[in-house]
């Protein structure tokens, strides 16, 4: 949640919007448009689509806010709408790429041997290249890995909160974030090897 607002303030704003306040809608947009836009952009990898889907998300919020029973759940509800919009879009465009990662896959466990040559991303130049690598890796991930990774790492959302957004168990979320991390780390290792 954005730092500059408390949970009780958020409840008030949501209630105001439920009562039809346009000002409350603008306030919520100001609070959440940036994280939601970035969340969507990371999931879909296109700024144009991210713009459209961010608009669609907030429009859906506006039209359906009255159906939200507990204003305290607004943030999870908002992220869930955004996530659903993304996957509907991906399904429509038939872009959804399912990469199955089986527990028994050799590449998966060979990576666990951790032969990494001290990856130290802090020393990497923070450039578009890394962003591109991460974006490519995210596109290759199964959606169930992609969204929890983006929520945990880029959005700094707690695992408990992520379970509320994606509707899965804590154990499942934890495992999927770890697997997504491995994929990202492997991609960055490859990048470092090619640079070396």
């Amino acid at each position: 949640m954005p730092d500059e607002i408390s949970q009780s303030e958020l409840r008030e704003i949501v209630r105001s919007l439920q009562n039809g306040s346009e000002e409350a809608f603008l306030k919520l947009y100001q609070l959440y448009s940036k994280p939601i836009y970035n969340f969507i952009w990371r999931l879909i990898g296109s700024t144009e689509d991210a713009e459209d889907l961010t608009q669609d998300t907030f429009l859906k919020v506006y039209h359906e806010i009255r159906n939200l029973r507990d204003p305290g759940q607004f943030r999870f509800w908002l992220y869930r709408i955004a996530r659903n919009e993304v996957y509907q879009k991906l399904r429509r465009a038939q872009k959804a790429t399912e990469v199955s990662i089986d527990d028994e896959e050799v590449s998966y466990y060979s990576f666990l041997a951790d032969n990494a040559h001290d990856l130290d991303p802090e020393r990497l130049v923070l450039s578009g290249e890394i962003n591109d690598i991460v974006a490519r890796t995210l596109r290759l991930m199964s959606p169930k890995y992609r969204d929890v990774f983006v929520l945990a790492v880029f959005q700094k959302m707690s695992y408990e909160d992520i379970t509320k957004v994606v509707g899965r168990s804590l154990l499942s979320v934890k495992t999927d974030i770890y697997r997504a991390r491995l994929m990202v780390k492997e991609a960055l290792n490859e990048y470092l090897k090619t640079r070396a």
């Binding site: 429009l59 666990l112 001290d118 700094k156 934890k174 991390r181």
Partner: protein, 172 residues
Amino acid sequence: MKCRDLRPHLSALADGNLEAKWRSEVERHLGACDGCAAFYRQQVALNRLFQKEELLVEPPQHLWQGIQARLRHPSQPTWRERWVGHLPALQPLQLRYAAAALFVVLVLGVFLFFPSGERDVESAKLLAELEAYSLEVRGNPFLVERRPDQNPFFTFEQPLMENPFGGSGSGP
């Protein structure tokens, strides 16, 4: 606990999400295992990298205006939204199955509704008529008067061609 089993907990620790019940065991393992310690450090470093504020993209200014415009003037659904939007989304594999099934149905339909035997008989009849007509014309180039029903290309109302040698009879 083996390294393989412990790594998801290390990932959670890097995210600040490790449950209290695992903390002491994970910390003990980290102190004893260089590989896991390196893995943990890398995850923390990755988090620092990806959580830099400059990596967050500002949504464009026109986004809010777009939302307001769409609230004021909700657009009519496009034909695609109106028709295709209600259909269940098909995955590529399902589409392939559907296309294959459609092809089979079409092929079966052609052979069931148009048996090849009937088609052959019809063709043979037509060919025989054409042949007879052709022979008749070739055999008598000056007289084209025929029974109209023998000429599939002429109608009853069509006037007969005049005989260039005069008379009306059975030719030279």
